[in-house]
């Protein structure tokens, strides 16, 4: 409903006020007059009319009249036929929130606020910034949408692929922010990803991303024990959420039937292999080969080296990781340290563990690296 009002009014703040007023009116009227046959349409119409009244009362400005003139035929129809339903505008809202003219932080905040319905304080906690900072971020983002003319529409065909990739990246960013389980962000990302599969059911990568998130999330309970990291091979599999795994596999099948080669779909395919009784590391390596070719990413190259280390032994892994450049990325050193540890070269392993510790921030990761160092 909020999405529909944003579509009509073109202004996030006005839409929120309008929605509020519509609910208040409904709370007063419906107990007396009965619930209308199409409550959603009633709320949107009431909200819109209230907002229009308010706009008219304010100084009449050319741009505001232009705003009113932007009503699409669908809404004019709604006046004439009160029982008709209005279009679901969540897709337009996602693309507006994730518009490249907004900073990434603004995209994330706006998506969580308007699509996720999260409170500003919750979002602030999830991303570890003061609430005032997050509130300002939202204010500036809404102002930019209004002043810079960011449209409320599904992007044109020529830019749709790029814009969709940007929206998926925002959802995945939200998911990863919730990785340590402190907040509801992972669940929120899965909800957003699910909405996207309903809104764009024929896009392979939309299903691929949801599959990836479901499969990752299935292991959330097994990943930490008493604040310490539990490696994949050591995890208590009874703590894996089989429902998530099943749902993830179903989404993956859908993604692969549309296009097996997209980056999220490839990553989900790898995640699915890890959800098996025993990981088929050779198959994982093959998927990383595809993913590396597709993305050219050094991080992918590192993950591939780790997989090679599992499939073909630590020397092969070390060789595969030899030329990778990822300055400031502690996982590179942690991976090299692990290969050297397994090759029983403790002096070089120590050096790499120390380099990793110089960069690692998360307490659980530091604890893990320190333990490894002590065991040498």
């Amino acid at each position: 409903m909020l999405a529909a009002l944003i579509g009509i009014l073109g202004d996030f703040d006005r839409a929120e006020d309008a929605a509020q007023e519509a609910f208040v009116t409904a709370a007063e009227r419906w107990p007396r007059e009965g619930v209308p046959s199409s409550p959603g349409a009633w709320l949107v119409t009431t909200g819109r009319n209230r907002a229009i009244d308010r706009i008219r009362r304010e100084r009449t400005h050319e741009s505001k009249l232009a705003l009113l003139a932007r009503e699409t035929p669908a809404y004019q129809e709604m006046d004439a036929v009160p029982n008709s339903s209005f279009p679901d505008e969540r897709l337009e809202l996602i693309f507006t929130c994730c518009h490249p003219a907004l900073s990434i932080e603004a995209q994330v905040a706006l998506t969580l606020r308007t699509l996720g319905g999260m409170q500003t304080s919750e979002i602030a906690r999830g991303f570890m910034v003061p609430e005032a900072t997050m509130a300002q971020r939202l204010v500036r983002a809404k102002r930019k949408i209004r002043d810079a003319g960011i449209p409320f529409q599904i992007p044109a065909a020529g830019v749709l692929a790029d814009r969709l990739a940007a929206a998926l990246a925002v959802v995945y960013l939200i998911f990863n922010a919730g990785y340590d389980g402190r907040s509801d962000l992972a669940s929120e990302a899965i909800r957003l990803g699910t909405a996207l599969t309903e809104l764009m059911p024929d896009e392979a990568e939309v299903h691929g991303l949801l599959a990836l998130m479901l499969l990752h999330d299935s292991r959330a309970s097994a990943r930490f024990a008493a604040g310490e990291i539990v490696l994949l091979e050591d995890q208590d599999r009874t703590l894996w959420d089989q429902g998530r795994i099943h749902a993830g596999r179903a989404e993956l099948a859908r993604a692969r039937s549309l296009d097996p080669g997209g980056p999220y779909t490839l990553q989900a395919s790898i995640a699915a292999l890890h959800a098996c009784e025993r990981t088929d590391w050779t198959a994982v390596v093959a998927l990383y080969d595809d993913l590396l070719e597709r993305t050219g990413s050094a991080v992918v190259e590192l993950n591939r080296a780790v997989a090679i280390g599992q499939a073909h032994g630590p020397q092969a892994g070390l060789d595969a990781a030899a030329d990778i450049e990822l300055p400031g990325y502690h996982y590179l050193h942690a991976a090299r340290a692990d290969f050297l540890r397994r090759l029983e070269r403790p002096l070089q392993a120590r050096r790499e563990y120390e380099l990793a510790l110089a960069l690692a921030l998360a307490p659980a990761e530091r604890s893990f690296l320190e333990r490894r160092l002590a065991e040498l």
């Binding site: 050319e62 449209p151 529409q153 992007p155 830019v159």
Partner: protein, 113 residues
């Protein structure tokens, strides 16, 4: 709404590497954009060496040689566009040759009065 498309280009770079026919083709592209519906105005500016900067302090005009700010990329031209939303402006900006020849186009909404 109206948008100002400010075209920034590096002082030396890809443009200098183009052949004469290629330069002519780029000039034709700029002229074609000038003729697009919605493009209200547009002009190429003389190079940054021709710039003069004026400030006024205590009622006295202070005039200096050169641009407002010395930057790697300088303002080389502009278009004024009437368009329904930012995406239309972005689509036009993406067609401006400077954007693919090492420069950039800044898209700014014009304050309506």
């Amino acid at each position: 709404m109206q948008f100002m498309l400010q075209i920034y280009a590096p002082q030396t770079g890809e443009w200098d590497g183009l052949s004469e026919p290629e330069k002519d083709a780029v000039t034709q592209e700029y002229l074609a954009i000038s003729g697009e519906p919605g493009v209200l105005a547009g002009a190429q500016l003389h190079p940054v060496e021709t710039a003069t900067t004026v400030r006024v302090n205590d009622g006295r005009a202070l005039t200096t040689d050169g641009p407002f700010a010395e930057t790697k990329e300088a303002l080389g031209g502009y278009y004024l566009l009437e368009a329904p939303d930012l995406d239309v402006a972005i689509a036009l900006a993406a067609r401006i040759p400077a954007a693919r020849l090492g420069g950039a186009v800044e898209v700014r909404p014009v304050v309506e009065r």
